[in-house]
Amino acid sequence: MNPWLNHLPILPVLLPMLTGTVLLLSSDSRHGPRTALALFATLAQLVVALALLALTDGQLDGWPGGVGLYALGNWAAPFGIVLVVDRLAAVMLTLTATLGLAALVYSLARWEKAGVHFLPLFQFLLMGLNGTFLTGDLFNLFVFFEVMLAASYGLVLHGSGGPRVNAGLHYIVVNLVASLLFLVAAALIYGMTGTLNLAELPVRVASLTAGDRQLFDLGAALLGIVFLTKAGAWPLNFWLPAAYGIAVPPVGAIFAILTKVGVYALLRISVLLQDGGVAPAPFGGDWLFYCGLATLGVGTLGLFSAQKLSKLAAFLVIVSSGTLLTAFGFTGTLLTGPALYYLISSVLGSGAFFMLVEMAERNRTQVADLLAISFEAFGVESRHDSEHPDAMVGVAIPAAMAFLGLSFVSCGLLLTGLPPLSGFVGKFALLGASLDSLPNAPVLHVGLFIGALLLSGLAGIVALSRLGIRVFWDVARPTPHLQWLEAGPVAALLLICVWLAANPEPAMAYLASTSDSLYDVNAYVRTVLPIPQTSTP
């Protein structure tokens, strides 16, 4: 294996950091070079992520066992800080870079100019995201979380305005408190086990005394609460619809993956702590299952309450978080592969949806929305109901409207899990896997899971068609003008989903091996700690 390839894992952190710094320091007047640099850096991250995907799969003479290790400063694992790349991390990196590239291209059309420092903040957000997926150290997880959140605070306020600042204020307070809890949790875990290295944790936990174990479990529970807050689990998600619904569209699109960071961290830590039969409450089992179910329920109810498409998109994010949490709370590991497939498809779908919503709602005023609602509520005849029913017949559909309509339907199918797109494949695989795990899992869980999944899909399609009819069949509105820069990314994201649905086998096979390697904790620990550890605390 080429020795230079060993340095690949650090690039997803270094590239956006350096790019962000250069962008921050360069003057705003150099618009062309700045844009080119941001695009190039994001594209490079995608290439690096794809290379890591291949390396973890054993191609290009990749790492043995599919787990790559990068020791910063070449300090060995328990003392130094390490980055660990396994299949799951590589998948998440690729997803981040894909979504990031699409959101960045979209933002170049107009939103980047809605405020200052969009491009550097965007790069720092990518840095935080990539770092979170790569780090093999609990405290660095905190640091990368903070990098990601600090950038997201700036981005959620991008474009400014009263409602945005107000929603941003709540978002910041909730996340600051969650960060403080993270610190308490990390300190407790360090105080009890004497390590912050994720691979060393299971080794140390096994040898804790009963008293220390209680405090450790407390730390783990706090950590779980932090991740559930980030994942948007009920009852910790009241900040989410307001913040996501009000953020500018490209920011909303990249935020679609922010909740999945919480899900990822939860999955990663739960697997590591499950080794040897130790799994603290918030990380798995019944507790997580019912929490996920409640999230799914609240998200589904929220779908009906949403009066704006951007709010609806935010609730769809909660629904997808709920589905994932429920799946990970399930007994057994059969659901992990399909859940990851669902995660990819739902992140791409909601990313596209956030961008689409703004294009579809362009040229529409708040007043029109309000009127439409009150017409509906009071049964008043709408303005253009049956005045000239034939007037519209035979009128050519403008290309922009055709594109928007088609994309909207695709997004709807993706996010609610109807055939033929990848959302359906994901949900179908989830349902199949839940039935397969029947002898081990309680029948009640399987029934609840299937019922909740199908109901949330039905609710999604009802809510989407209700708002879709209002937005798209509003004859009085002028046709929105789209730019290629805006339509392109949405189309690209949807085409990826179409490809995922058309060729589910390679993706599913890769994700199944992802799930296998994720649960192979020994391989992870052996890669990170090559020297056999004596379990003395």
């Binding site: 903070e146 600042v165 107000n166 307070v173 300190a187 360090y190």
Partner: protein
């Protein structure tokens, strides 16, 4: 010393939690600051309390761990202070922006009617 430290952490955390549940943005930011002080002291305490023990190895004394205090929590506290300071400063800016845009210091941006 343990009692003093735990009392300090407890009082600051309690006041902080009370303050972040208050309706004014200024109270919230003071609450967040108090909470972060409490958390920083807590991290420090997790390295076990030792009086007069340095965290850095002294070549004269040798590398016997019993002579030294745990350096890791001190490094963590430093990082936590820096990050906490930065995010609090950022929150302060948002607070001022919210005050300027809405004309009130209520966290919801509107004055409740019954006041």
């Amino acid at each position: 010393m343990e009692l003093i430290l735990s009392l300090a952490i407890g009082i600051m955390a309690g006041s902080g939690i009370y303050l972040i549940l208050r309706p004014r943005t200024f109270q919230v930011i003071i609450g967040l600051s108090l909470l972060s002080y409490a958390v920083n002291l807590f991290i420090f305490g997790m390295g076990r309390l030792r009086v007069g023990a340095p965290p850095i190895i002294n070549p004269v004394l040798g590398s016997n761990p019993a002579l030294y205090t745990d350096p890791v929590p001190q490094a963590l506290v430093l990082t936590a202070i820096v990050i906490g300071f930065a995010t609090t400063a950022l929150f302060l800016v948002v607070l001022l922006a919210s005050r300027g845009l809405s004309g009130t210091d209520h966290v919801d941006g509107v004055e409740p009617d019954n006041e």
